[in-house]
Amino acid sequence: MTDKVLTRIAVNGVVYERWIEPRQHLVDYLRDELGFKGTRAGCEHGVCGACAVRINGETVRGCLTLAVQADGAAVETIEGISDSGAISDLQHAFLQHNALQCGFCTAGMLLSADDLLKAEPGANREQIRAHMSGNYCRCSGYHAIVDAIETTRDSRRLAARSGEST
């Protein structure tokens, strides 16, 4: 048996102190230990993107991160990010365009899309497709997802401009 490691991880703003088995990846820790079921495992080898979480503001593959590596860090899951309202425009656009069907990939899509629009507020369709290519969706065929991100891009740019003019 290996030794568990004492860790303190802030998840969605609440600090949890737990003894964690080193081999447990962050997704399993969040789901099984803390009950944050919104983060999902689709492949456990870092390809499908369904496991997206944020560590210190950066989106990572939760399945390729050991929970113990997040010691001292601030982790945000879809639940926390959603509740904060930070992606409400994206969520609304996804609903209006039906950019989700079964929903299993959606958390990862939203986090990735949000990252893209923050880094490239003027991303065009091709750039959107390139950035989102790290998230697998089997239901949508991606077209509606790109549409939803474009809609959000436009509304955020509009908001930024009207913000500037006041």
Binding site: M1, R23, H25, T59, R61, L64, L66, Q69, G134
Partner: protein
């Protein structure tokens, strides 16, 4: 697929890491970005007894220019390279290649040290490091040594790293104002490991190529330098005939093998196509001011 059990140790210095490596030998793995290692462990393809987490070692971090070199600490993440104005200014080859490395979430964790130490012949950084005359800085905790990229990559997943050593940094000599770089790869899907890729560097003065470095990824057990192609193109304007000669010489310098989807013959063919396109890319860049 749940990883097998292992112990986890946070090492706080290079000396500590090296000592642990010597102590555990093959039973230990260094954990940097973990983007390859953790996938391997989840699939139980590897069963190390201990993981040594080196992410906290301060001296492994940072991008800096010092003593005529661009220095990237081993723990520098792909995303940092992608976004670095310093890298873009001095060794833009790395900036050109960065968007091809997997996807943003992977780039947020994966490190250049990890990539170079793994030495996957289909990865971007080993080929780019070779094409930009990079030097690996290795340490055993007490002594540091430098190895040229060409001497570092020895065979499939085999480098010149000795037991008890780790990569602490990679350094690139600052190129002159006439130096240009180009990168291209062919992958079925954006972000996949490339089928074949090319990293080239050249001095371009008055439209004439010189001091070329032509390095391929995906056509051998290590990044493969096409010396014959370099010879064919050095001192020329990279016109059709010379490029054709360069392409013809490739079979001497590359050794692709069949994989699940692509035959060795196709890879050779694609290498030739990429060479033509990369030379054009290089020459089409404006003369640096």
């Amino acid at each position: 697929m749940k990883a097998p059990q292992f112990d986890y140790v946070r090492v706080t210095s290079v000396a500590d890491a090296a000592a642990q490596l010597r102590q555990h030998g093959d039973d230990a793995r260094l954990l940097a970005g973990g983007q390859t290692l953790l996938a391997t462990l989840n699939m139980r393809l590897s069963q190390p007894k201990v993981l040594l987490d080196i992410t906290g070692i301060k001296e492994l971090h940072g991008i800096s220019v010092q003593h005529g070199y661009l220095r990237l600490g081993a723990m520098v993440r792909h995303v940092e390279i992608e976004r670095s104005a310093t890298v873009a200014k001095y060794v833009p080859l790395l900036t050109q290649a960065a968007p091809h490395l997997a996807h943003a979430a992977i780039r947020n964790r994966g490190t250049i040290g990890g990539s170079l130490a793994l030495a996957d012949p289909s990865a971007e950084w080993p080929a780019c490091t070779l094409a930009a005359d990079g030097e690996l800085v290795l340490s055993d905790g007490s002594k540091e040594r430098r190895v040229m990229a060409g001497d570092f990559f020895i065979d499939l997943y085999q480098t010149d790293l000795r037991p008890g050593e780790l990569v602490t940094a990679v350094e690139f000599p600052l190129p002159g104002p006439q130096r240009r770089f180009a990168f291209a790869e062919l992958a079925r899907r954006h972000g996949d490991y490339a089928i074949v890729g090319i990293a080239i560097a050249a001095d371009v003065v008055g439209g004439v190529l010189d001091e070329m470095r032509i390095v391929f990824l995906g056509v051998g057990n290590t990044p493969m330098r096409a010396l014959g192609a370099e010879t064919a193109l050095n001192g020329t304007r990279g016109e059709l005939a010379q490029v054709g000669e360069a392409v013809g010489s490739l079979e001497e310098d590359i050794a692709p093998s069949n994989d699940l989807y692509t035959s060795a013959e196709t890879k050779s063919h694609l290498a030739g196509v990429l060479l033509q396109r990369a030379v054009k890319l290089l020459l089409n860049q404006g003369e640096p001011s």
